[in-house]
């Protein structure tokens, strides 16, 4: 079954509208919560008047910060230990008390019998503000004497950390050319199809909290509800049923989860909150939001020497739960798949009066890939060399793995030239270059853009992550239980919200235990019947959680073998397990199936001293991260008169190690590339400089690509197994997004290079490109 291209078993239910999302769930006596959000980006709250709102039909209760004090302990978590030289990390209580610091921050909640009644009453809550100076531009915000995003803070600097790797000055001294560029990673919305939704039901008599939440991390949410509400973890059950996407925006506890739980405690009613799309844009974390100033040093022959990167990170008003992680990953992966002599990074985290930034598909790795792939192209351009040749010249060879990058990260396995060569032949590279030259003579501007990325997945080995993750071990767990009649339930700590785990995990179990795929049931998302796990993000579920399942299955096989040996009256070492059947060496006809052994495991007559049952538990802590890689090529043509970009071809050759289900891998690449194209060409969160209001407040104002904008892609793979886990898998959930933006932008820059254009910012909108061409023509 491993490697089989089978349809996702989740799909018939989901595509016919039979999924169960949080909003499909009702509770007796349930009330709806509407959140009154700050209309100001930065202001003192003078007063909150609920007189009119209280009289609104159906209103059950209205609560503000003062009501939640004493019900909610402390603030939202921040992985502070990521921030070695932590400067100023303000504590975030889930609701503003005296000062609002971003547009859309909760200031009050209304509970009403019906959802529309809650919305109507929320409009009638009168909040009187005393405006304070608004900090929007994060580069200005880091300057001495800047206005402050929190009036009681010392300044706006959350952290300022250096990542030294080798003798950077020596590397630059050797250089024949040095190229500088500013690369902007604009803020984008993660935009899952299903916004966040929560139901909290606190039962006072038993001190039990049941929470349904549209989250990627149910166990993680449970821990923080335990801390925040003071309810023992054993008394809390968090259920993430069908979840319509997350893309990293649902991998943390959110204010509304605390508020709904506390409101249920205060009101004695189950409380449901359904995020509207406009709220989703304001109050679900944003992705990216960086400036990278880079300097590249290279030799005349194309040898890459040194890379200096200064990262300014726009955190928003509160450092995201994993906010600093993205800057750290962006720098640690900035060397990409090249043999730099030295790389030096610095990151400054900056507070502004905006929504927090936190992980979005790739989380730091798209930033890294974009900057280093731009860096290589800038060097190639300066040296008048083909960008593919510069890449090939600087890749570590296959026999150089495990390869340690300039910042000390150890890449497990790789065959970078192989993916590039495969992509070259798929796209018809040499022909394309000829065609490009011909078209240029006719005044047509076609470009070819490379992105040869490497990424870090399988987060993560506790030895490496504990000191940067706030002492989290980031192991992943599984329970594999074979029932007496031979069917299998596997319960996992990860959560599937589009990844297809119900299919792929069942494939692993079916393959390893030799049972029919159809009898394997995968449980996830309910802390009530799954073992603790850190959840799904960072392309880790297979490389950590999947491997844990494999290990549990192996334990089951080991026990089953003992039972089989006993039944076959043979020594254990003489028993062979082959495709679900146990037999004595040399007599394959007399075999016991896994189903028969499972039945025997629940009957009398087991080997002496053996307990009944056939199940196993594994908490897997991998020895290293995994390092998927690949080569993407994008072919564009730019209309020089209008600045319009047409993607003519997109080739992706990815290597994610061994593949469990090729169809799901292809789907992940398709979706990932689509989101990368979205950032490259269309998307940008904009706040008004003067007021801090969200200008892209609806999807009328924020462009995400649709079916008309995403090209048909040519996908292929190479397979370089990871040596760090039993399955040889690496992960693929984010690969497409990590690779795509650089491929698209490099292609556009290549197309426009006859105008002397060396760099293009994202989103490469027609207006922006037209202006750049106009400037270049002057």
């Amino acid at each position: 079954m491993i490697g089989a291209k089978i349809h996702r078993r989740e799909d018939p239910k989901l595509v016919t509208g039979h999924g169960t999302y949080v909003d499909d769930i009702q509770q007796t006596g349930m009330v709806y919560m509407s959140v009154v959000r700050s209309a100001q980006a930065h202001a003192k709250i003078k007063s909150i008047d609920i007189t009119e709102a209280s009289k609104s039909p159906g209103v059950v209760a209205i609560y503000a910060a003062r009501d939640f004090k004493g019900v909610i302990n402390g603030g939202l978590p921040v992985t502070e230990s990521l921030i070695a030289d932590k400067k100023y990390v303000p504590n975030q209580f889930p609701i503003a008390e005296t000062e609002v610091v971003y547009f859309g921050e909760p200031v009050a909640v209304v509970l009403a019998d019906e959802r529309y009644q809650a919305s109507d009453a929320a409009e009638k809550v009168q909040v009187d503000y005393d405006p304070l100076p608004v900090v929007v531009d994060f580069e200005k915000a880091m300057q001495k004497g800047s206005q402050k995003s929190h009036s009681d803070g010392p300044d706006n600097i959350a952290w300022d950390v250096e990542f030294p790797g080798g003798d950077i000055e020596a590397a630059f001294k050797e250089a024949d050319v040095v190229v500088k560029e500013r690369i902007i990673q604009q803020r984008v919305f993660p935009l899952s199809m299903e916004p966040r939704t929560v139901i909290a039901n606190f039962v006072p008599f038993t001190n039990q909290l049941t929470m349904w939440s549209s989250t990627q991390v149910p166990h993680f949410v449970r821990i923080f509800m335990c801390f925040g509400l003071g309810v023992p973890e054993s008394q809390i059950r968090v259920i993430a049923p069908d979840v319509g996407g997350g893309f990293g925006s649902k991998l943390r506890p959110y204010p509304e989860e605390y508020l709904a739980a506390a409101a249920s405690k205060l009101s004695g009613r189950p409380v449901k909150w359904v995020e509207g799309r406009t709220e989703n844009l304001q109050a679900t974390t944003h992705g990216r939001g960086h400036i990278f100033d880079i300097e590249v040093a290279a030799k005349k022959d194309g040898t890459l020497l040194g890379l200096k990167v200064t990262n300014l990170s726009d955190n928003g008003a509160y450092v995201g739960v994993f906010g600093a992680l993205q800057s750290a990953l962006a720098l640690l992966l900035a060397p990409g798949c090249y043999k730099w002599k030295a790389v030096h990074g610095r990151t400054v985290g900056i507070l502004t009066n905006k929504m927090s930034t936190d992980p979005y598909r790739g989380a730091g790795r798209p930033e890294a890939a974009h900057l280093v792939e731009r860096a290589v192209d800038l060097a190639a351009h300066e040296l008048k060399m083909d960008p593919a040749d510069v890449r090939l010249k600087n890749f570590p060879a296959e026999n150089e793995f495990p390869f340690t990058n300039a910042l000390g990260m150890v890449y497990d396995s790789g065959a970078y030239a192989k993916t590039l060569e495969k992509a070259k032949s798929l796209v018809g590279y040499d022909e394309l270059r000829k065609r490009q030259a011909e078209l240029r003579k006719k005044g047509r501007y076609m470009g070819i853009g490379w992105s040869t990325y490497v990424e870090i997945c399988g987060v993560g080995p506790s030895a490496a992550t504990a000191h940067v993750s706030g002492n989290l071990s980031l192991v992943e767990s599984s329970v594999v239980r074979v029932h007496p009649t031979g069917s299998v339930t596997v319960a996992v700590g990860t959560h599937s919200h589009g990844q297809g785990h119900e299919t792929t995990f069942a494939q692993i179990v079916a393959d390893t235990l030799g049972v029919p795929y159809e009898v394997v049931e995968v449980h996830h998302g309910d802390t009530g019947d799954t073992p603790f796990g850190y959840g799904t993000y960072g392309s880790r579920s297979l490389a950590v959680g999947g491997v844990s399942i494999y290990k549990s299955c192996q334990k089951v096989v080991d026990k089953a073998k003992k039972i089989a040996a006993h039944a076959l009256e043979a020594a254990e070492e003489d028993v062979v397990f082959d495709q679900g059947r146990f037999h004595v060496k040399g007599s394959p006809d007399k075999a016991k199936t896994m189903g028969e052994i499972a039945f025997a495991a629940h009957l009398p007559g087991l080997p002496e001293g053996m307990e009944a049952g056939l199940e196993a538990v594994t908490y897997f802590d991998p020895p290293n991260f995994t390092w998927p890689f690949g080569a993407h090529v994008c072919v564009t043509e730019v209309d020089p008169e209008t600045g319009a970009v047409e993607i003519q071809k997109y080739v992706a050759v990815d290597d994610c190690g061994n593949v469990i289900n090729p169809m799901i891998v292809d789907g992940q690449v398709h979706g990932g590339v689509a989101q990368g194209i979205g950032q490259a060409l269309f998307e940008e969160v904009q706040y008004a400089e003067d007021t801090g209001q969200l200008k892209t407040g609806t999807l009328l104002d924020y462009s995400i690509p649709g079916i008309g904008e995403i090209p048909s892609m040519d996908l292929d793979r190479t397979v370089t197994p990871s040596p760090t886990n039993d399955l040889g898998v690496k992960g693929v959930g984010e690969a497409g997004t990590i690779a795509a933006s650089a491929a698209v932008i490099n292609s556009i820059v290549d197309a426009l290079s006859p105008f002397g254009i060396k760099h293009v910012d994202m989103p490469a909108s027609p207006d922006r490109l037209w202006k750049q061409i106009q400037e270049a023509r002057k």
Binding site: G276, K695, D701, P766, D767
Partner: protein
């Protein structure tokens, strides 16, 4: 994303619709396809006190040609216009434009009358109506397109006035509508319509002002024999478009010129 409270009434005739509009007063709105109105209500940017649903008035859904005029009923859906053999034969540019409105869902619900009455600067039909000297017929009178579009989202319609049909001249000579947009299912950043009628060019521009614009300077230059690329330089004469998140004013003016050139060239080719 939940509309404010409103009354709802379904009209079975134009007279009844007009009466209901009169009853609910000037904050009432006609509901046709609803694909512009409902999103605005969900965002609470529009808070009509009442909706008068005209979807049950079957006689408003028609396409006929008589006496050199194409009559398109107010309730005619985009998809009907797009696929109508009469429209394809008598005013093919209208069928093409209908095929470029929104996506399938929008085209299945959205209507001619709705687009005209909504008077969005980025609407496509108003450009054709203005450029072709169409007439907007209501339950009370006939209004020439050039007198109909007053300002952004503002028309000559009175509070109890209901559009019944839009009457276009027949024109099946060279034509082209270029809708320049960032995404397939999106509004025009700028749109340009070119139609040859009785030997002369008509040029209409979408989304470069608060109302549709007829590029008369281009029309005149073409009449005097200017080449398309020369005449098109006049497309931005007198334009003062507002910038938005999609495009700056300068870029819109530039697009008006480039797209006018292309529209005339492509119409002729």
């Amino acid at each position: 994303m939940i509309p404010a409270a409103f009354e709802y009434a379904r009209a079975s005739s134009v007279e009844e619709a007009s009466k209901l509009l009169g009853k609910y007063g000037e904050d009432a709105k006609v509901l046709a396809g609803g694909h512009s109105l409902i999103p605005l209500m969900r965002l609470r940017l529009a808070q009509p006190t009442a909706l008068v649903d005209i979807n049950g008035i079957k006689e408003l859904d028609h396409i006929t040609e008589r006496g050199g005029k194409l009559h398109v009923g107010a309730l005619t859906r985009h998809v009907t216009i797009q696929n109508s053999s009469v429209v394809k034969d008598k005013l093919p540019i209208l069928a093409e434009v209908a095929g470029e409105v929104g996506d399938n869902q929008v085209r299945n619900m959205g209507t001619m009358g709705g687009v005209i009455a909504h008077a969005d600067a980025a609407g496509d039909y108003p450009t054709l109506a203005l450029m072709l000297d169409a007439e907007v017929v209501t339950n009370q009178r006939t209004i020439r397109a050039r007198e109909f579009f007053k300002d952004l989202f503002t028309t000559a319609l009175g509070p109890d006035e209901v559009i019944t049909e839009v009457v276009f001249p027949v024109a099946n000579g060279p034509h082209k509508y270029i809708k320049f947009r960032r995404r397939l299912f999106d509004w025009a950043i700028v749109g340009v319509a070119a139609q040859k009628i009785n030997g002369d060019w008509r040029i209409g521009l979408t989304n470069v002002s608060t109302t549709p614009v007829r590029a008369t300077a281009v029309e005149e230059a073409l009449k005097k024999g200017a080449k398309p690329e020369e005449a098109a330089q006049h497309a931005s004469d007198g334009l003062d478009p507002s910038g938005d998140l999609r495009a700056s004013p300068e870029y819109k003016k530039h697009l008006a010129r480039v797209l006018t050139k292309r529209a005339v060239q492509q119409a002729e080719s």
